[in-house]
Each structure stands twice: as C-alpha cells, then as structure tokens.
Symmetry: C2
Amino acid sequence: MSLVTEFTKNTEDPLLFETFKPKIQAYKNELTAGILDEYKLPEDMIPNKFGVDVTKIPPKVLSENELEITESTGTVLEKRLQAGELTAVEVFEAFAKRATAAHQLTNCAMQLFMKEGLERAKSLDKYFQETGKTVGPLHGLPVSLKEHYMYKGKVTNAGYVVWVDRITNDWALTVKLLLDAGAVFYIRTTEPQTIMHLCSNNNIIGLCRNPNNTSLTTGGSSSGEGALAAMKGSVFGLGSDIGGSIRCPAAFCGVWGLRPTQKRLSMKNCASACTGEAEVVCCVLGPIARSADDIDLFMDSIISQKPWENDATVIPLPWRKVQEPGISTLTIAICYDDGVVKPVTPILRGLNYARQKLVAAGVKVIEWKPIEVDELVSACGSMYNSDACLDQINALAASGEPLKKLSKVALSFGCGEKGVDVTEYQRLALLRDTYRNVYQDTMKKFGIDYILSPAYVSVAAKPETVHYWGYTNLWNILDFPNVIFPTGLRCDPLVDPPDTSYKSRSDIEAYERGLYDDAKKFENAPISLQLTGKRWFDEELVKAAKVVEQEITK
Amino acid sequence: MSLVTEFTKNTEDPLLFETFKPKIQAYKNELTAGILDEYKLPEDMIPNKFGVDVTKIPPKVLSENELEITESTGTVLEKRLQAGELTAVEVFEAFAKRATAAHQLTNCAMQLFMKEGLERAKSLDKYFQETGKTVGPLHGLPVSLKEHYMYKGKVTNAGYVVWVDRITNDWALTVKLLLDAGAVFYIRTTEPQTIMHLCSNNNIIGLCRNPNNTSLTTGGSSSGEGALAAMKGSVFGLGSDIGGSIRCPAAFCGVWGLRPTQKRLSMKNCASACTGEAEVVCCVLGPIARSADDIDLFMDSIISQKPWENDATVIPLPWRKVQEPGISTLTIAICYDDGVVKPVTPILRGLNYARQKLVAAGVKVIEWKPIEVDELVSACGSMYNSDACLDQINALAASGEPLKKLSKVALSFGCGEKGVDVTEYQRLALLRDTYRNVYQDTMKKFGIDYILSPAYVSVAAKPETVHYWGYTNLWNILDFPNVIFPTGLRCDPLVDPPDTSYKSRSDIEAYERGLYDDAKKFENAPISLQLTGKRWFDEELVKAAKVVEQEITK
C-alpha cells in the first residue's frame, strides 16, 4: 500500500482567503460568546501546557448532583427522567457545565447555544408537568451533534471556510428525528477541513485536543464528538464515518462508537463538499457514546420513527431487540496484523490482553488472516477521490484557504487528483461487492461470529500525523458494521516501548509505526478495540460488544 | 426526450462471425433435439402463418388431467403435491408437454432438457414416498428460467454469440434457492441480444412470438418467459428487469410479473456483458407468473431461505405475510400520460375501464401528475451506457455478430457511446436519490397508496419496434416496485382505432404512437396495467395488485 499519487493542485489563494478572515473571526467570536458565565470553568483551571489529562478537571467544579448526572449513561438518566426523578433542566445544566468545560479544555465545539438548550429543557419539563408524559425515548437527554448536519437556522460549514456563514434552513433528517425523540441540543462539535482527516484541524477554529493527553489528537473526523464523549459533556452524540470518522475518535478518546451498516440511518441533509459520496462508498451516521446500552437506545430512538418514510434511500429494517449472546457461545477471530501496517506495542498488548480474557471466558478465539487489505484500502481511496477530487477542490478554492497537511494526504489517496473513469469506477464497485462476499464466506467457513481488531495501528497519535486508515476504512468499503469500545487499558511507557527491532514491509508501514517513537509521549492514551460483525446485523453486534467489553474489563 | 445520440461504433465482423456459425448451429440442433417425441405437438398443428392466437392450440392435445394441472396456479398445485394428491412426475409431464408445444409455437426456449426434468421429478416423488415429506415450498413445481442465470454444467450465453458454447460451472444463487425449494427445471427461455430490448431478437435462435397474436412481439428482455407464461408452459418463471424486462413481456403477453425492490433477491452469478450494471441502476430478478398468490409463493420460497447468508449484497428483509387491503380503503393515482409519450387507444381504454371499476368499488381515484419523466428516463439511459457501452461493445465485437436494430437503439440511450465521466455519473446517482424522495413525498402528500399506469404506450408491438421504455424504466431508476397484471381486456379493432387527430409533442412520441397504425394488426393483444408501490414494500404491493385485479376483472 502506498499513497500512489501526490496532490499537486493549488487551491490556495492568500488574497482571497484574506477576505474570509473577518467572517471566520465573527464565527469564532460567536463561539467564545457561547461560553456562558454560569457554566464557565475558571480560567485558572485551564492548563497552560499540553500533555495533560484534562478529564479530571470538570469533576472539581461540578456539584455532587451534577457529577452523578453527567457520570450516568443515557439509559439510566432516561429512566429517571421518565419517572420524574430528574428534570430536563437539571440534567441539561449539569451537561451544559461539563460541555462548556470540555470545550474550554479541548476546543471541541464549533457552536455553543446553551440558552436555546435551556429553553428546550424547560419546555420539555413543562410538557411533562402538564401531561405526565415524555415526548419520546430521549426526552430531556442532552445530545451533541457533529457540525456538518444541517441545523435549521444555523450556519453549517462542513469544515470549509467558504461556508463559514452559510445558514441552512432545513434540518438533517436524523437530527430532526433525535429532536422529535426528545433530545436537547446545545453544542455542535468540530471536524477537520474537508471532514477527511483522522484528526481535527481546520481553518475555522483549529485543532481539537485529546482529553486524555492534550498533546495528542482526538482523531477524526468526528473529532469534537470524541473529545466531548471522553469529557462526558453530552449523553451521546451523532457522528459520521466514511473511513473511520466515528471509530477513530471513539478509539483515540476511549469511548464507544458504532458505525452501523449503511442506509439504516438517513444521510438526508448532511452537508459535505462531495455530492457523489453516497454512491460507491457510503458515509453513514452513528453514535459516539459511553456504553453499549446507550448505542442501543440511540439507534432505537431514531429507527423506531421509521426514517424510511421521510427518506426513500433508507432501508426499512426495524431496530430489533436482540438478546445478549452467552460469552462462551462466541467464536471471535482476532486480527493482530492486517498485513499492511502491523500495530505498535500498546495495541498488541491490548489485543493479547483481550485474547487472554476471552479465552478464559470460554470464547473460541482464532486468528484472523487478513484478506487483500492492501487492494481494498487502495480501492477505497480511489472511491473517495474518483471525481478527481473536483468537489473538494472547488469547495477549497472558493475561499482559497490554506490546505491542511492531512487534507493533502486524503486528496492523494488511491487515484488522487487523477480520478478514475466510469469503467474503473464500476470495477471498484464490483471489487467491493466481490470482497463483501469473500469476507462473509470466510467468516461463515470458519464459524466466525465477530472479528476483533485494532481501530488504528496505534493509540491516539500526535496531531496531523495519521496517514493510514486501513484498520477502519477496510470496513467502509466492505460495509460490515463495527463497534469501538475501550479495554480499560492505557498506554504505559513502562510496558509499551516501541519495538525498534521490527523491519517494516513498506514505506507506509515504516512511516506509520515510526510515529510511535517514544511511549512517554503517548502516556495515558486509551487502548481501544474494534469489534466487527456481519453486514446488516448491527443489533447483534452491539450486544456482542457489550458482553465482550464486560469480559475484557472485568 | 429524444435518443440523444446515435450509435456509430462498428462491432460487426462478418468473417469472424462466420467462424461462430457452426457453434450456433450446434446450439440450435441441441434445442431441436430437446423437443422429445413424447411431448411433441404434431407438426400439422403448427400454423403456417403469423397473426394467430396459439394459446388455444395446446389444450387440444392435452388430456383432461394434463389440462387441469397446467391451468392451475402454483399455489393450488403445491397444496395438492404436498397432500400427495398429485405426483411430481404427473405435474411435470403435463407441463413438459405444454412447454414443448409453447416452444414449437412461439420459439420461446433456448434450452430444453426434459429428461433431466423428468429425473428430477422422479427423485422428488421418491423422496416424498420414502419420507412422507416434501423438500420445500416448491416441491415438484415446474419452474422456467430466463437463460442468463448461470446453470451448473450448461451453456449460459446471455444473448451473445461469443458465449454460445460457454459452459458455466456454478449456479446463480437465486436459481439454486429455487432448486433447493423443490423446483423442477426443464426449460431455459430466450432473451434478446445484449438483453436490452423490449423485444426478443438474437443471433442464436432468433425472434420469439407473442402467443396471443404471433405477428406481435412478446416484449423483452424476459421474452421467452412472457410467452411461456401465456402458454401455461411452466408454473412460473424467473425473469430479470433493469428497464422493463419482466414487466414488458408480462404486459404484452397478458400475465403477471413483479419487479421487486432491488437487493431483495440475489443477482449473484447472473451473466451479462455489463460488469458495472449493479451500481447506479440495478438489475433485479423477479417472477413472471399467472397470479398474485403465485408471486407471493415464489418470493417467499426464496427469501425464506435467507439469501443474504450467501450473498452480502442482499438485504435481510424477510418476505412478510401481509393482509390483503380492503379495496375501498385504497387511494390510487392513475397516470394517463407520462408527459412524454401519451398511450394509444386500447391502453387508455384499459385505464378508463380500471378507473370506473375502482371508483365503483369505493377506491379513491385521483390523477397522477407526471414528475420529470423526461429527465429521469434520459438519466436512466445514461446510466445504462455510462461506460460508453464498452462492456457490451467488447462482447459484441468478440464474435462480430450482426447488430440487431434494437441493440443499436439501446446503445444510443442517454449518453450512448460517449459515456459519462465520474462527476456526471455521481450527478446521475444524486438525481436518482433526489427523485426517489420527490416521488415518495408526493405520494405521501396526496395520500397515494399506489400508482396505476401503463407498462408501455401501447399493447404488444410489432417485433423490433419499441424504442421508448419510460413507462417501465422510470421505476428502475426510482426503484419503486411494480406488479403487472392483465385487465382481461384485449385490443379490439372495433373499439380501439388509432387516434389520428392527436398532435405529438416530440419525435419520440410521434414514432412510438405511430407504431399503432392499424388496430387490426394488434387484435387480441392483452391490455395490461402496472401497479406501483412504495420502495421496499413489495409484499403490500402484491396484495394490493391482487385486490385491484379482482375488482377490475369482476
């Protein structure tokens, strides 16, 4: 695998970009103004250096009640809200405080609109008081949103400077369904330029930092969602994933994430530069959350509203109630190496730790032999850039904004700026469909229920360094669903030294493994894993991930 | 709408084609040899001219028992087989006789293998006698297959001369599932060159004739299935449809057909020249049958076997048991004119007749206003030919076979031989998705349950004349499912004169309406209609079509 092309097009125009700076400043000012005094973390609690675990800071300023609320899962909170034991306002204010602190400590938000959130919470309480009923299964739960879903009456920029003042006058359907289920909105979270980095940098609000170690990246592209979930600044949030954008931040930040099978949640009115992205490899929406049960609640609350009635591209598969599998009934194949880039020490430790725990619990554990990962990942890159990056180039050039390092990398994937012709495009689609069957048949042949693998070669990386998406985007091209969960382990310099004796098989492997150059720099980064199930069987996967995580973290 | 390009590429090579002639002859000889003496219609019963209704001929040579069997629906036959009241051999022999006659009278078969069918029937009877059980829900039912599905150990040519001796060593998955459900195979039916005509001509066995009037075409591309169903030579058959290929022959021949929503039945190992056809507009498999109940039986027998376990591209939507709707609860919008080519007299009569019957039954009937049919049909044409017809050109040029008139027309649809680039390809996909929602939203807005429309501008046409696919391929691009059913009416020269006063709005309209130049030529052609439902809700559609047909034919 190599980045087969280099991105050479010049989309930058400093003079043009200059004209956008006042708009960017206005946008940032509004964000700063969104940090309300009543929720604000005292300035002196904000560390003046990086490399800090800032997850420990908000608890210092929260009341016991606020702490209890924000430490709870959505499933627990919702029960208490439905029972009238908690008010929506009470819940909202706890999360508003914690989310505000999260933003101050990590730069995770693009928009904060706490007053609107509070009004919404009040109206929900009023409804409950007057009717004795809740409005839906998420009644009163503070839910965060990645920025690029259209939000009625607000700017939606999708990480592009040109759209920094573009107000969208409609709702993304999935956002609207969350709202109708009773969610309270108050924060829209950050994403990288082009929404195509496993990192966070953009020319609007800049980098977002990993709460576990602020020298590191949150991953991306649902960068702000990853940070906010680790900071417990929302119950759960809506992310999106076409190459790892839910899973990478969930893994890097040490929380849960589901990339469901495509066309189960609606993509209607999600903004991006890529008009054609829904065809050969599909972006999907999904939750970044703090427990398997919350993923279940999230998915059920949307799908029970029959999104297919408002979006003909959604498949009418109900979100089924399934039982947790008995742990000892499972056969799990572990992928220790995808044959392209071997994971570094802490990830291998996580995999081995998981294996031991699972074997001890009676799981049948076998080794997963990688299948044509190189070709599939390269094909996926060509799918992203099949239009010769035209849509993205146009959106970038429209403001002349500086091109971020990782935008350049993403624009060079596969065919890069050369694009493909329709014959090649269809060949890629055929390759995809062929390997969907090869993978499914292989799982069937060996009786494999789930595949356990890394989400990335390493733990959270240094900002703007990750080039290799293979551990996540393999599954985007195959469209097998994945759950990310934390193992409870963290990178520990004492036990996770880089393996300096390893001989890399390629430039990309040497580059990627070389990033893990000094374990100390990665201290406290969560070690997370990815569980992959069969296409369309998301419900079973979530339940399996629940029991697997329970066993591993016992 | 116009055929925006002309197909100018020369794929013909008479010298090369000469070298294929012995292979074609061998193939034809085998077909002739498949007409067994024991099932053969006496030569003197074969009319020596066209323009004949040959459906009336086989009953003259069938025994009372054979007649009763072949006149029965699959649903009824299967009950009797399961109860042991009929043997598989008894059923098979009746259909073998009628299918052989059907082929002699219409040229509907590409392969006949009656001995294998008989052996299979015998083995099913043996199994039943020994175990008291049937092998599955189609136990002992004679089922026909369009030729282009891979059949283990037999030639699969997909209508191309180059493949006239290509033996395929695997099963098409859907065919295998029919077999596993208990079907008996004995006939593979004809299709046109490129499988892209709403007609039947190819350079292997030539034209197939409409049983109701042998001067007319069966339609296509499931041409042989249409003829065989009208001749009652199988219980039902497996067709395929990317532009009307199930619906057109069902309509022209006066039988039932379902084009289900995509990815409900597996396309695995269906042969065609188009490697990329599954991406932007999808071919689907579906039944050509003789009743709504049989469509239900057919679909259920396959989907209950969970095809998604053997094909990851199939969506795990079970075939649901749904109730027939009360006729008076329905709101049906009737499309009298798609705004591109207005239907001719007998079709308008059929629509008006249906309207009267439905209104009398308490159906809320409104008029369907066409939505951008021109643009969508043209887009669909560009989707077919997006690769600049490369795959088809290569398959044609490989034998240098003469290019059939309607192949040339299909290769000129939309972008034609110019093809499109990826940007345009993705724009077409976006247009498709946009209009799927526009159509769904429109149905929702007006409370429309189903849309009733023609399947084509006219009744069965003269061979090799149909250019306009808009009444069917509109629904391929939108992927809304359709059922074709006969109204019981037939073209009648006394009441269906051409409307010579009509002023055509375009060349294509003038051409297509001009084909209906003399009602006498179309005498006895069935008047069929098309009922369209919501995407994925195939089950409800089939039940609705059942009650609608019952009402109209009362």
